[in-house]
Each structure stands twice: as structure tokens, then as C-alpha cells.
């Protein structure tokens, strides 16, 4: 039976032995091994470093989660004393050099550091301008601890919250703490977490805690990073929830498209069980709580809580009417608390550091931070964690590095297929639950896609609706048939077949679907369309009335041309063309046969004199 004293001992030992704090006596080398890192080639680097340091004393090589900047992967970090150096764009050769010159030789290889790559006077990621303004609470351990070693989590204060709850807090105390903290659900709807747990307190013979790790929003990978980088934060929070509402079983419903996260969770659960931090009689408190994994199978709708519950029960993931809410009737008909990974990840720290600490970040009605997954036309794609209330401008330009290739910002999309867009006019909107709702979008789970002048907003709306139509469960009429009809209209508009009353039809349909669909997926499905119509109606009109796509994006409405005056007849385009649509004599202006052209754009990329354009 493990006690707080044991945790303290482990903490002290690990801090020292794994060189986890600034007074370290040795060197700690970490390799970013979340999915992105591994995709970029981190595994061979890890092996290289492990082998290369095998007979060195006072050097620990550890794998960690996402260090914080996807486009710079593979990344490794070297911690020496209080100095931290972040190396980017690593290859086996570069890694060898770092091993020889820095780890063994004590000299930083400056040209490989993050400062050199991004032209800032810094050697670690924490000093970079785009990182400094972030406040990493949920991501605090990501990229610094080994997710497959529970001791490192304990060394960072892990499981202290669980101990505090089990030994000195009543169930009501926990609920009140959460209520006062103002923590709201990070899955997107923003429901007060304390209230949700409070509603699940009524007596029952069996209750459940469920973690929604389905993260289906395309472009969102906040949860994945926590699961791959700091899984114990989730386990600890779920155990706290189990104690508070009186549940003995927890389910983590995780999408199957996250195999690495699944693996790391399995390891974490086993390690927690082995230490007596999960399972029977946790820490001698008499509280039982076990966690099981359930995998999704490719259905976005299973991110909706009642569909998720149906899926756990072995059924088609079709949402159920609410009321009754999961608090009264959830998994197998029993009271259930179901929260997002992001929500859970905040809880241990709120317990340990207190309500005032949490409320000191963020806004009055949206306390704490939010993790966003920046993607699309942005220089620094990746995760950023910012206090609620940070403006979109800040996120895009300070942390995101602005729009690449000198292009103009056009709109940002939040909330994935359930959200809307934020145009230039609202770029100074503070990002919090209520402000976003006012301008016609929603927080969503955190996906933040940036679009530039080359993106067509009508096409983006069509893209999202296409997604929704494919993922609709088919149970209720407005979503099953309504969204399909909306998509048909958008498909016509983006292929030059728009009709005069299309916009009003889209608005009518959209309004009805929002009003009568059975679940959140349907109720929010029209948002991308309604939002883009609200802010970009002109673009729709141009498509419909003039049969033109101003952004030059809708395939059926654009054509590629070779400007004869600029063309030098080099023939590169013709060679690149996969369908032989370009013809021309050597040194003579070439021509594109539009009946063959598949508009792939390969010719435009290949042309050395920018003679090819699309209109």
C-alpha cells in the first residue's frame, strides 16, 4: 500500500537520479517521441543516443512527448545544470555530432539549435518568442517527462492531488473546489465541470467515470499530445472523479487512430496499478477504481457523449435524446460523469495549487488556459496553450509566426465542423467561450485552422459539410437529410451551378437543422456554412452570379493558363504534367489543353519563370 511518504521518497529519488531538476548532477537528454516526432524519424535517434551513451556515467537518455513545435521535428533536448538546449531538424548524423561535441564534449552545437533555425537569440524552446507567451498548465509535463515512467510523473508532483483528495477532502469539498475554480468543459461546450459532477452525486448501485478521448475534430490533436506525453495526469484526475461521485469503474474511450496513445495509456495504467494508485483500496483509502480502455472504430459522432456511451455499450454510435442526461442515466443506464481529456488534465493541479491559482489565469467567466492546435496556413503549426482571453491576433502573430509566403490572413476556423470562422474584422476577439459564441462560432475542442487569401470560404464550408454528411449517424431527419441537401447546394455552388435562391435556402435549412437536430453534431453542423455566409456573403454571390471563385480554389471553376509572353518554352511543365495536357515546341510558348487538364497544379509549381497562373 503506497502512502504519501512513499510518493515523496520516489519524488526525491527520481528528481536526483533522472536529472529532472536544475540542480542536476548529470546530463539529461530527451528525444521528442510523440507521433509527430516518430513520424519525422525520432526512433533511430533515440536508439543512437541510448547506445552512444550506454557506457557514459551521469547521462540519462529519455523519451518524452511533444516538445512543442511540430515543424521542427525531430527534436532533442540536452539539460545540463540549469541550462537547457533544444536541437531541431535532427538527423542521425547531426545527432552523432551533438553526442560527440555537446554531450561528451560539453560544447553546444549552435547551428543545430532552435535559435539558429528560427533566427532568435535563444538556445532553448522556452526562450523563443513564440513559446514565452504561452502558459503551459495542461501541457506542463509534455515534452519534459518520460510518459512511460510513472516515477517521473511522481517527481513532478504527480498523485499528490489524489492523495490530498483521499485523505483530507470530502466529496463535497472536491465539487466545491471545482465549482469555485470555474473550470468549464474543454471538449467544446464549456459546461461547468463542478456542476456536472454535482449532478452525478445522487445514490446509485453503480456509477461510471468516462474520459472522452475520441478527439475527432480534424485538425485537433491536443488530447493526443497529453495522452502521449503525460497520460498519468488523466488517470489521476479520473481516480479523483471516481472518489467524488462514487464510481468504481472508469472507461477511457479513445479513437483507434491514436495507436501510440493507446499503447502509452496501457503502460501507464499498468504502472499505476502496480504501485497501488489504481485498482483496489487505492493508497489504503478503501476506495476502488479501475480504468479500462475502449477503442473507437472510426466514427466522429462518437465524440458526442451519448453516442460514445452507446458505443461503449456495443451499439452503433447513435446519440440518444437528452434528457435524461448521462448524470442520471449514462453507461449501461447508470449515472456517469463524462469529461474531455483536456478538462481532466486541469484537475490535479487545481486540487494541489488551489482555486485562486487557477482563477488567476484567464477571464472572469472562462478561467484557466486553453490548448489550441494551430494548423493550416501558419508558419508555426503545433500546439499552443494560452490563457483564456488571449486574442486571435496574438495567437496568430506572436505564437503562430504569422502567415507564411507573404500571404494575407483571411479567416480562422475554430471548433472544427461544429464551429464557425473568424474574419479579419474580429481578429482582436478574446478567445473565450462567450466571446466566440457572440460572433457566431464556438470554442470547440481547440482546433484552430488559419486560412489565407488562397482559400475559398465557400469551399471550406463545403469541406466541413462533406465531413459532417459522411459522419452523420443517420438517426434524425434534419441531420441525415437536411445536411445532405445543404451539401448538394454547396456542391452546385462550387461547380458553377449555383442558383439565385441558394443562399436563402442554405440559411433556412441551417436554421431548421440547428433547431431540431437530435444531438450536438447535427445542431452545430450548419455553423461553418452560416458563419461563412455571415462574413463572406460576397464570396458566395460571386460564385453564384458570376460563376467565379475569387480565391482561385474551386477546381471546377478555375483553369490554368500559360502566359505566352512570359513562357520561355523550356518544356519543364509539359514533362511534369501527369496527363500530358501541355504541348509546345522547344523555346516556343506552350499551351495547356483544358479538356485534359486535371488542375493538379504541378505545372505551376514547376515553372521557373512563374508563367503559369490559375483563374
Amino acid at each position: 500500500m503506497i502512502t504519501k511518504k512513499d510518493l515523496d521518497k520516489i519524488k526525491a529519488a527520481t528528481l536526483t537520479e533522472n536529472y529532472l531538476d536544475d540542480s542536476r548532477e548529470g546530463i539529461r537528454v530527451t528525444v521528442g517521441m510523440a507521433t509527430c516526432g516518430i513520424a519525422a524519424g525520432a526512433k533511430p535517434l533515440f536508439r543512437l543516443l541510448k547506445e552512444g551513451t550506454a557506457d557514459l556515467e551521469k547521462v540519462e537518455v529519455k523519451m518524452v512527448g511533444c516538445i512543442g513545435s511540430c515543424r521542427l521535428e525531430p527534436m532533442i533536448e540536452v539539460y545540463e545544470g540549469s541550462k537547457r538546449t533544444t536541437y531541431v531538424f535532427m538527423t542521425p548524423e547531426k545527432c552523432q555530432k551533438v553526442l560527440d561535441e555537446h554531450i561528451k564534449g560539453g560544447k553546444v552545437v549552435t547551428e543545430y539549435t532552435i535559435g539558429a533555425a528560427d533566427k532568435e537569440n535563444a538556445s532553448s524552446i522556452t526562450e523563443m518568442s513564440y513559446f514565452k507567451s504561452q502558459k503551459r498548465i495542461v501541457l506542463r509535463n509534455c515534452g519534459t517527462i518520460d510518459p512511460e515512467n510513472i516515477d517521473e510523473y511522481i517527481a513532478r508532483g504527480g498523485y499528490e492531488a489524489l492523495d490530498k483528495v483521499l485523505t483530507s477532502m470530502s466529496k463535497e469539498d472536491v465539487v466545491n473546489t471545482l465549482l469555485s475554480s470555474g473550470l468549464r468543459g474543454r471538449g467544446g461546450a464549456g459546461f461547468p465541470t463542478g456542476l456536472k459532477w454535482k449532478f452525478t452525486m445522487a445514490e446509485a448501485d453503480q456509477k461510471y467515470v468516462v474520459c472522452n478521448a475520441d478527439e475527432g475534430d480534424p485538425g485537433a490533436f491536443m488530447n493526443r499530445s497529453v495522452l502521449e506525453g503525460d497520460p498519468h495526469a488523466l488517470l489521476e484526475a479520473m481516480a479523483i472523479a471516481g472518489y467524488t461521485i462514487g464510481a468504481t469503474i472508469g472507461y477511457i474511450y479513445i479513437r483507434a487512430e491514436y495507436p501510440l496513445a493507446v499503447e502509452r495509456l496501457k503502460i501507464a495504467i499498468k504502472q499505476a496499478e502496480d504501485k497501488g494508485l489504481l485498482g483496489k483500496n487505492i493508497m489504503g483509502s478503501g476506495v476502488d477504481f479501475t480504468i479500462e480502455l475502449r477503442l473507437g472504430a472510426g466514427a466522429f459522432v462518437c465524440g458526442e457523449e451519448t453516442a460514445l456511451i452507446a458505443s461503449i455499450e456495443g451499439e452503433r454510435g447513435e446519440p440518444r435524446p437528452k434528457p435524461p442526461f448521462p448524470s442520471q442515466s449514462g453507461v449501461f443506464g447508470k449515472p456517469t460523469v463524462i469529461n474531455n481529456v483536456g478538462t481532466f488534465a486541469n484537475i490535479p493541479q487545481i486540487i494541489v495549487k488551489g482555486v485562486d491559482w487557477f482563477k488567476s489565469t484567464g477571464t472572469e467567466k472562462s478561467s484557466g488556459t486553453k490548448v489550441f492546435a494551430l494548423g493550416g496556413k501558419i508558419s508555426n503549426p503545433g500546439l499552443v496553450e494560452v490563457p483564456m482571453g488571449t486574442t486571435l491576433r496574438d495567437i496568430i502573430y506572436n505564437m503562430g509566426g504569422g502567415i507564411p509566403n507573404g500571404k494575407k490572413f483571411k479567416a480562422a476556423q475554430t471548433g472544427g465542423p461544429s464551429g464557425g470562422c473568424i474574419p479579419v474584422d474580429h481578429i482582436d476577439t478574446p478567445i473565450d467561450y462567450d466571446s466566440l459564441a457572440e460572433i457566431g462560432t464556438m470554442m470547440g475542442s481547440g482546433g484552430l485552422i488559419i486560412m489565407d487569401e488562397d482559400n475559398c470560404m465557400v469551399d471550406i464550408a463545403r469541406y466541413f459539410l462533406d465531413f459532417t454528411v459522411d459522419e452523420s449517424c443517420g438517426k434524425c431527419v434534419p441531420c441525415r437529410i437536411g445536411t445532405k441537401r445543404m451539401l448538394e447546394i454547396l456542391e452546385r455552388i462550387t461547380t458553377s451551378k449555383g442558383k439565385a435562391d441558394d443562399i436563402s435556402k442554405l440559411k433556412e435549412l441551417g436554421k431548421n437543422i440547428k433547431l431540431t437536430a437530435l444531438c450536438g453534431l447535427g445542431q452545430t453542423a450548419p455553423n461553418p456554412v452560416l458563419s461563412t455566409i455571415r462574413y463572406f456573403e460576397q464570396e458566395y454571390e460571386t460564385h453564384i452570379k458570376e460563376h467565379k471563385c475569387p480565391a482561385g480554389s474551386c477546381q471546377a471553376m478555375i483553369a490554368y493558363f500559360i502566359e505566352a509572353e512570359k513562357c520561355i518554352g523550356c518544356g519543364l511543365c509539359a514533362r511534369k504534367c501527369p496527363v500530358d495536357a501541355i504541348s509546345g515546341e522547344k523555346k516556343q510558348p506552350h499551351k495547356i489543353d483544358r479538356s485534359k487538364c486535371i488542375k493538379c497544379g504541378a505545372c505551376m509549381e514547376a515553372c521557373p519563370v512563374d508563367a503559369i497562373y490559375k483563374r
Partner: protein, 153 residues
């Protein structure tokens, strides 16, 4: 593994899960792991083993994208169609792939080598656009690179 061995393995798993609540999804996922896909015989086996109507098993199999009812190609080629990748031109890549492999998305090439899948966000948005062949992840893919990449398999 022989067919009998495969069915035996599935049976053991069914026996383990039978008394758990909500066993159907995990059993079907295990069956797909073992057999690679879920044809009639396997679904019938599951239906009888868990004492649920075949209709229910099939209803679940056809609801979730990840369950395959048909034999898959030797290599699974997934192109991410998540927002970040889409915004960076993934549709063009998909068109190109369909052209090169001469299949529609979702189908397997005639020689059984590749199954082309347009997949949901893989979560590597920083490397958009992203393509996966089996466990190999290719980031920042350009249309021209496709023939080269395919040649590797």
C-alpha cells in the same frame, strides 16, 4: 496462421469478454486484428458466440469506418483529409493518387497491392499534408513525389 487457429484465438477472446458488459466492439476489433477484415463467416461466428443477432453485428460493422467487410490490400495507403492537410492541398494529392493507382478512394488496386483510404485527421498537422503507408508516415508530401514513394513498395 491457419483458419482454425484464427477462429480458436477469436473464441478464447470471446470467452474472456462474454461476461463483461458491452463486449461487442472489443470482440469485433479483435476479430479484425486476427482476420484483417470481417466477412460473413467471421461475423456469424461472433453473432453465435455472443448470442446476438447477426443483424446487430453487421449493423455495427457497417456503421464504423474502421471495420472492413472486404479483404484489404497488402499495403494500406491513407491520405489525411483533416482540415489542416485539406487547407494545404490534400484533395489534389488524393486526385493524383486515384489517378496513379487507378482506383477510387476506398478500393483496392487490381493487383491487390494497395488499398487507398481517405482518412480522418491523423494528428500530425504540423507536417501537413500527410500520407501514411502502413506505419510509415510521409509529411509535407508533394504531388510529384507520389510515384517515387509508391515505387518503394
Amino acid at each position: 496462421m491457419s483458419d482454425k487457429a484464427k477462429y480458436d484465438e477469436l473464441q478464447s477472446f470471446i470467452d474472456e469478454m462474454k461476461n463483461e458488459k458491452g463486449p461487442l466492439m472489443p470482440v469485433m476489433q479483435k476479430a479484425q486484428d486476427i482476420f484483417g477484415y470481417l466477412p460473413f463467416d467471421v461475423q456469424k461466428f461472433i453473432a453465435l458466440g455472443l448470442d446476438v443477432p447477426l443483424t446487430e453485428v453487421y449493423g455495427v460493422a457497417t456503421f464504423y469506418s474502421q471495420f472492413n467487410l472486404e479483404k484489404q490490400g497488402e499495403h494500406s495507403l491513407s491520405l489525411c483529409l483533416g482540415t489542416a492537410c485539406y487547407v494545404k492541398g490534400a484533395q489534389t494529392l488524393l486526385d493524383r493518387l486515384e489517378q496513379e493507382l487507378k482506383v477510387k478512394t476506398g478500393d483496392t488496386t487490381k493487383d491487390g497491392k494497395f488499398t487507398l483510404i481517405g482518412t480522418r485527421c491523423l494528428g500530425c498537422c504540423g507536417l501537413a499534408p500527410v500520407m501514411m503507408i502502413d506505419d510509415d508516415v510521409y509529411g509535407q508530401v508533394k504531388a510529384d513525389e507520389i510515384p517515387e514513394i509508391l515505387k518503394k513498395y
